[in-house]
């Protein structure tokens, strides 16, 4: 589904990623892990085209998307939830969802489906998104990615700031989507969630892939060691 080979990118003259390669097969859930500042967000941003790749390629569904603009990647079926509960602050919650569903050229019913996954948003539809609490915004961000009806979800710490009961639901939702054939590329700090969900792991350190493998092959202690400071 998604294949990243030899990806390099960074900010200005500062290089952050050094030849990262990874593979997300159809319907597969790959979890990217690593300590703070190793380049996880940079990786996802480069995969989405927010940052230009200085070397390497990104192929989605057999198509080279390395030079495509972010919105073109979205329209090909890549749904992205960036880190840090982002939203369009002055649009209403419904406006946030509508603008996304329209941009992705999906039917309005996609909004209702997403709201079923995040029912806590339903009473908030008319509120300005900027006024929501952090956790509410994060739920909105997830919902926004869902309304594009992606074929692959790219999630950067989706559970950050979310209350426990909803984390469980998000986890369940990801599991459900994954089960229904959606590919997922996930960055997650909660190790146990990652362990439960992932088919494959990629562990980053200093912009390099230091470990990769099937979930079953990796021992928890092993992972922990690699993630330790």
């Amino acid at each position: 589904m998604l294949s990243v080979t030899g990806l390099e990118s960074g900010y200005g003259r500062a290089r952050v990623l050094f030849g990262v390669s990874l593979e997300v097969g159809p319907g597969q859930l790959v979890c990217v892990m690593g300590r703070n500042g190793v380049g996880k967000t940079t990786l996802l941003n480069t995969v989405m085209g927010v940052l230009p790749a200085t070397a390497g390629t990104v192929t989605f569904d057999g198509r080279d998307v390395t030079r495509l603009k972010p919105h073109e990647r979205v329209r090909l079926g890549m749904g992205y939830v960036p880190q840090g509960h982002q939203c369009f602050p002055q649009l209403s919650v419904l406006g946030n969802l509508l603008v996304t569903v329209e941009a992705a050229k999906q039917p309005r019913s996609a909004v209702d489906e997403a709201l079923d996954v995040f029912p806590a948003l339903k009473p908030l539809l008319k509120r300005s998104a900027g006024h929501l609490s952090g956790g509410q915004q994060q739920q909105l961000a997830m919902a926004r990615a869902l309304v594009t009806r992606p074929r692959m979800l790219i999630l950067d710490e989706p559970t950050e700031g979310i209350q426990p009961s909803i984390i469980v639901e998000i986890e369940a939702a990801i599991e459900r989507l994954h089960a229904s054939g959606l590919a997922v590329l996930l960055v997650e700090q909660y190790l146990d969630i990652a362990l439960r969900l992932a088919d494959t792991f990629v562990i980053l350190d200093g912009g390099h892939v230091v470990r990769t493998g099937a979930a079953g092959d990796l021992h928890k202690e092993d992972v922990r060691r690699l993630l330790a400071v």
Binding site: G49, P70, H71, V74, L91, V99
Partner: protein, 282 residues
């Protein structure tokens, strides 16, 4: 006494002119955050379009397209490199306005030119000439159109999304480049329409834009950035204030009074009449 009463419709009609020239700015400045000093030049371009066509009615849509196209070119060539740096766009667009003004001087000559107003616009009811009524009508139509576009169409929503979070908009599937172009096209086009309208009441020359640009910004600022209803109220308020202040004093003092009132007003409402508050820190 009648002269005093007359100032009311005069104030409203001044307000309508202000509103019309500021309407485009609610897009380029209010929506996109571009402090577009070339707005005045687009007004001028609209006026010269009317001069070239010498057909007032035809000039309205034509000026929209001409000025809009100029705005679009400006956006593509230059402004798009400067998003997120609103204060820099001010300087850039000012440079553009210098060039356009000199260009007009070379193309059409330094002296003013004349646009013949259609005969059905001569005459009037009471104190208000038909041409003033026409400008008021045009302003109302413009406001309704802009309101509809911004709040009732997906494009309007996309415009807002891009302004509020450009990167998120892109990763939400919005073609930000197209939205920018379109927004700039409409904002500049509206300036062009205003340019046609002001040929009814003022000079048509290379410096045309200079006469309106400061007022246009004040309207948008006093109303609250990107707030249509704010712009409407601010324009009418400033129009009335101007008309009565000038009636009681003189044109110079009236302008000073208007500025003073705006500064005082921003003491009460520092972000203009209407603000969308955000929880985010800046």
């Amino acid at each position: 006494m009648t002269a005093f009463v007359n100032q009311l419709p005069i104030g409203l009609s001044i307000g309508a002119v202000l509103l019309l020239i500021a309407l485009g700015l609610t897009f380029t400045f209010g929506q996109m955050g571009v402090i577009n000093m070339a707005h005045g030049s687009f007004i001028m371009a609209g006026a010269y379009t009317a001069y070239l066509l010498q057909d007032f009615v035809l000039a309205l849509p034509a000026a929209f397209v001409v000025a809009g196209a100029m705005g679009l070119v400006l956006e593509r060539l230059a402004i798009r490199h400067l998003y997120g740096r609103p204060l820099d766009t001010l300087l850039l667009t000012w440079g553009v306005s210098l060039v356009l003004q000199q260009l007009a001087r070379d193309l059409f000559g330094a002296p003013n030119v004349q646009v013949t107003a259609p005969s059905w616009l001569s005459g009037g009811v009471g104190i208000l000439p038909y041409n003033r009524l026409f400008i008021m009508g045009l302003a109302v139509a413009g406001v309704v159109g802009v309101w509809f576009y911004l709040t009732r169409t997906g494009l309007g929503r996309r415009t807002q999304a891009v302004v509020q979070n450009r990167q998120l908009a892109a990763t939400s599937g919005i073609d930000t480049g197209r939205v920018d172009m379109l927004t700039f096209f409409i904002g500049s086009g509206l300036a062009g329409v205003a340019g046609v309208a002001v040929t009814l009441i003022g000079p048509v020359g290379p410096a045309l834009g200079d006469y309106y640009i400061v007022d246009a910004f004040l309207v948008v600022v006093a109303g609250g950035l990107g707030q249509l209803r704010g712009a409407v109220l601010a324009a009418l308020g400033l129009g009335l204030l101007n008309s009565y202040a000038e009636f009681w004093s003189d044109a110079s003092l009236a302008k000073v009074i208007v500025f003073a009132v705006i500064i005082a007003f921003l003491q009460i409402r520092p972000q203009g009449m209407f603000v969308l508050r955000s929880r985010a820190l800046t």
